[in-house]
């Protein structure tokens, strides 16, 4: 089972995502933004970072990268696709997921250990969690406030497409404490916090993040 991790210019957490995917037991493969080639991977991760400096809007430029045409096609065909942080922003800009991520409400970049509750464990990336399970993983971004119109929000809520919510005080102003969402099919997940930084207690606040990567392994083997 091969998981591809895309590197855009300015991507930062690509090596961490590769590490997490291999620790989970998959074969992790690095993909380059400028090559429209998925190298036969079974799932793709868009990692965190500041692609193209995120100067215009986060993810706005990367979504046009050559590799993204392939990613969009494959994801529309059901391939598991996870966007973490900047990757989530790319997914929204590419309209693979609804809404947008905007400046944190207090305007600061915020890095902290964040408690989340898993609300949907039937996606390709969350099946190893139980519904209602609380996990602790790092949150780190400047533009993590999830915004969308009321209609979209109602739809996300009623269709159970909220994958994870922040527990406790709202860290960034996201509507309905949304930390992550999925598409109707459940193969595409966007998540603001960083599970790849919580795969061992030595370097992360917990190993709670590993479940995202083991989930996809199971989803593929099935």
């Amino acid at each position: 089972m091969k998981v591809g991790v895309i590197t855009f210019p300015g991507t930062l957490d690509d090596r961490d995502a590769l590490r997490a995917a291999s620790v989970a037991g998959t074969t992790a493969i690095s993909l380059w933004h400028d090559e429209a080639d998925l190298k036969g991977v079974d799932a793709v991760i868009l990692p965190g970072g500041f692609s193209y400096g995120d100067y215009l809007r986060c993810g706005a430029i990367s979504r046009f990268a050559p590799v993204m045409t392939k990613v969009i096609d494959a994801a529309n065909g059901g391939m598991p696709l996870l966007g973490i942080c900047n990757g989530f922003q790319v997914l929204c800009e590419a309209h693979l997921l609804p809404g947008a991520l905007t400046r944190n409400k207090d305007l600061h970049f915020l890095c902290r250990d964040q408690k989340l509750v898993i609300e949907n464990n039937s996606t390709a990336w969350t099946s190893d969690y139980t519904k209602g399970q609380e996990i602790l993983i790092p949150l780190k971004n400047g533009e993590g406030s999830f915004q969308c119109d009321d209609h979209t929000l109602a739809q996300l809520e009623s269709e159970g497409r909220i994958v994870a919510r922040y527990v406790g005080e709202n860290p960034n102003g996201s509507r309905n404490l949304i930390a992550g969402i999925t598409n109707e099919r459940g193969n595409i997940v966007g998540l603001m916090p960083h599970p790849e930084h919580a795969i061992e207690t030595l370097t992360g606040p917990s190993s709670d993040g590993l479940g995202f990567f083991t989930s996809v392994l199971k989803a593929m083997v099935k």
């Binding site: 215009l56 809007r57 706005a60 430029i61 046009f64 929204c92 800009e93 609804p98 809404g99 947008a100 905007t102 400046r103 944190n104 409400k105 207090d106 305007l107 406030s145 915004q147 969308c148 119109d149 102003g173």
Partner: protein
């Protein structure tokens, strides 16, 4: 040579924390004129010669796809006087 200006603002219903922060900072500095503040972006695009209708259409398209995100933002395209 002409300068095309694209102004991008967050839609009124979208929270604008930057505008709110500026609005809160003003009275702390003794400025009391503002009822509210919104903060947006301004692009100055330099084009060769007088822009053609086709170019303007292109700029409009670039504004809608790249410079602004219509999910949360509105934009205006102007030719600078």
């Amino acid at each position: 040579m002409a300068i095309i200006v694209v102004e991008v603002m967050l839609k009124p219903e979208i929270l604008d924390p930057q505008g709110v922060a500026v609005g809160a900072a003003l009275p702390r500095l003794g400025f009391t004129f503002a009822k509210s503040v919104r903060q947006g972006k301004r692009f100055e695009i330099e084009v060769e010669g007088t822009p053609t209708a086709a170019q303007m259409a292109d700029i409009e398209k670039a504004a809608a796809t790249l410079l602004a995100n219509p999910v949360i933002e509105t934009y205006v395209v102007k030719v600078q006087a």
